[in-house]
């Protein structure tokens, strides 16, 4: 860990906020993608019956 001096809290807070938003966006995107795929697979299976 580099010595961030008196601004350590500021720098770490900026990184935490950014990571939370980026990881949150990626996780939501991935979950929605899985859900849409499952929904379409189910509809195609229904149609194929």
């Amino acid at each position: 860990m580099p010595d961030l001096g008196k601004y350590a809290d500021t720098v770490i807070l900026a990184y935490v906020v950014s990571f939370v938003l980026l990881i949150g966006l990626s996780a939501i995107t991935w979950a929605q993608s899985r859900r849409a795929k499952r929904l379409l697979d189910a509809e195609e299976a229904r149609r194929g019956k």
């Binding site: 580099p2 010595d3 961030l4 001096g5 008196k6 601004y7 350590a8 500021t10 720098v11 807070l13 900026a14 990184y15 906020v17 950014s18 938003l21 980026l22 949150g24 966006l25 990626s26 939501i28 995107t29 991935w30 929605q32 993608s33 849409a36 795929k37 929904l39 379409l40 509809e43 195609e44 229904r46 149609r47």
Partner: protein, 240 residues
């Protein structure tokens, strides 16, 4: 083969399905190298101290925030002119990513501003135009969700996108238009005298590449999701 063939959902799904794994690896690599290099491998700035390390998140997110809207403007124009559904869905897919990037830029800017400017917020031209851009993103997402007919939603959101483009461009050039703001000039410039020192410049370029790749990959995944949802809705309508 024409570029427009990729406006065909089947072709788009095929190509994007092949691109996503490759881009995922490149994105992870660029983000990891850029952020680790920026955080651990750069010195403190003589004025800003260690807060200069925030640049590696603030600048790329601000660039994507503006350029995501420009991308939405182009795909909205394609929808309005050529009526390709994939382009309208790509614009819809990009909006939450642009909003997130705008929030990161505003958030990291505010956190940096407190020790450097003595305030989290100032009614500076660039900050204000960025806040308006965030409101446009929210309005754009709300409009898509408020209208049931997807073609009408695409038409109206495309028009909103054209109007919002003024603020996206204003956000980019606000520093040049007005000189009274707190926000400093561009961190990156073709003029070597103007841009940041090389010690920060190269890791910043890697971070920007990582953010651009992340944007592309998220747009591809979200557009695929929209195409699947639309296809599922059409099958549902036929099955009932």
């Amino acid at each position: 083969m024409s570029f427009w063939e990729y406006a065909n959902p089947v072709k788009f799904m095929g190509l994007s399905g092949r691109l996503i794994p490759v881009l995922s690896v490149l994105t992870a690599l660029c983000l990891a190298v850029g952020i680790l290099w920026g955080f651990f491998g750069t010195p403190d700035d003589y004025k800003q101290g260690s807060t200069v390390k925030i640049i590696f998140l603030h600048v790329p997110s601000a660039m994507i925030a503006i350029n995501a809207w420009i991308m939405m403007m182009i795909t909205s124009l394609v929808w309005l002119i050529r009526r390709h559904h994939v382009s309208a869905l790509a614009a819809k897919a990009a909006a939450p990513i642009g909003l997130t990037m705008t929030l990161i830029a505003l958030g990291t800017g505010a956190i940096w501003g407190k020790p450097m400017w003595g305030t989290y917020w100032a009614w500076d031209p660039r900050l204000t135009s960025f806040m308006i851009l965030a409101v446009f993103y929210l309005g754009y997402i709300a409009l898509w969700n408020a209208i049931e007919d997807t073609d009408v939603a695409a038409d109206l959101t495309s028009i909103l996108c054209m109007v919002g483009s003024v603020f996206a461009l204003l956000s980019r050039y606000a520093v040049n238009f007005w000189n009274q703001g707190l926000h400093q000039g561009a961190s990156l410039s073709l003029d070597k005298e103007e841009h940041v020192d090389n010690a920060f410049y190269f890791p910043l370029l890697v971070c920007i590449a990582g953010f651009v790749l992340l944007f592309v990959i998220l747009v591809l995944i979200r557009t695929r999701t929209e195409i699947r949802l639309r296809r599922a809705a059409s099958l549902q309508a036929r099955n009932t």
